[in-house]
């Protein structure tokens, strides 16, 4: 295919895309005018019905908990896929690279503790203030990754043993699924809220929302830890061994 033909095809499809984009932009509602009922309804009823002050959190783990179940399995499947694809290059010889600079080690290890606590906090208050299991889980995994940056691959490896992390991931996803069945057994619908809703603005609120929140946090933190360690194994392998 020569250059002018290619350019011609590009021009036609770019013009088509521009026309479609313009058409859809013209049809958008005015800025700041949200006029669908769902969001307004949830904003109006969520705090009274579930006693949780973060409406986004309770939407994710209660009103649309089934969506979140699907997302958990998307993450789970993606991480399993990565593990399987990178299995070819797996090797358990541990390289000796480590951070040698004292200032980096000290500040890095301090940051590990701070980031870990921050992650726990983001998870714990996920349904009271902005945050939640997904965000907090990634922050916790970030603390593990900081161990690699501030100390060594060996420390990271010992902190996140493969079998334990994989089990934690399966436990998180499994707990979410089973909590759904508990809702089915007690309240008659899958993922229906089945605990007392507690007091508004405290950690004891939202019924089964906190449990689903923590299950998600465990699943996400473990999934990212698996992802990091799989990528690092490939990264630290010598080139020739990987290719042969």
């Amino acid at each position: 295919m020569n250059r002018s033909l290619r350019l011609g095809i590009f021009a036609v499809s770019a013009a088509g895309l521009a026309a479609l984009l313009f058409w859809s932009l013209v049809g958008l509602p005015d800025f700041g005018h949200y006029h669908w009922p769902y969001g307004k309804l949830l904003n109006a009823v969520a705090v009274n019905e579930r006693h949780t002050t973060n409406v986004v959190g309770v939407t994710v783990f209660d009103y649309r908990g089934f969506d979140t179940l699907g997302e958990e399995f998307i993450l789970f499947t993606a991480v399993i896929g990565v593990s399987l694809l990178l299995r070819k290059g797996r090797e358990d010889r541990i390289p000796l690279d480590s951070a040698r600079d004292d200032a980096l080690r000290l500040l890095g290890l301090l940051a590990v503790a701070l980031v870990f606590v921050l992650g726990l906090w983001v998870v714990a208050f996920g349904y009271v203030t902005p945050g939640g299991g997904f965000q907090g889980g990634v922050v916790i995994a970030g603390a593990f990754a900081l161990v690699y940056l501030a100390a060594s691959y060996r420390d990271f490896h010992e902190l996140t043993p493969h079998s334990a992390v994989e089990m934690a991931e399966a436990f998180g996803v499994g707990a979410f699924t089973i909590l759904g069945f508990v809702g089915l057994a007690y309240e008659g619908a899958y993922l229906q809220n089945f605990l007392g809703i507690g007091d508004t603005g405290t950690l004891y609120a939202g019924g089964s929302v906190p449990l689903l929140n923590w299950a998600t946090a465990i699943a996400v933190a473990a999934a990212l830890a698996v992802l990091f360690s799989e990528f690092m194994k490939v990264y630290v392998l010598p080139t020739r061994e990987w290719r042969s």
């Binding site: 990212l224 990091f228 990528f231």
Partner: protein, 82 residues
């Protein structure tokens, strides 16, 4: 639309262009991190703190780490292939 929202929208657009225009993957991933941070600001300015937090953790922890490891891997391999 308040001025702060206009400013953050313009900054996000400029940073997105910068990400696309960089050719070196390593620099591109760093600029991409900056772009992610600007998106976080945008979400905060538009009063979506939950989305901002998600963007923050994905854009500054999960994505760069995977990207950096992949880039370092590719850099290791290139001299061998040619």
């Amino acid at each position: 639309m308040i001025p702060l929202q206009v400013v953050s929208l313009v900054l996000v657009a400029a940073a997105a262009l910068a990400v696309v225009l960089h050719r070196d993957p390593l620099r591109q991933s760093l600029v991409n991190g900056l772009y992610g941070l600007l998106l976080v600001v945008l979400f905060m300015v538009f009063q979506a703190p939950d989305v901002a937090l998600s963007m923050l953790v994905v854009g500054s922890i999960a994505y760069p780490l995977v990207l950096m490891l992949a880039i370092s891997r590719v850099r290791d391999r290139t001299p061998d292939d040619e």
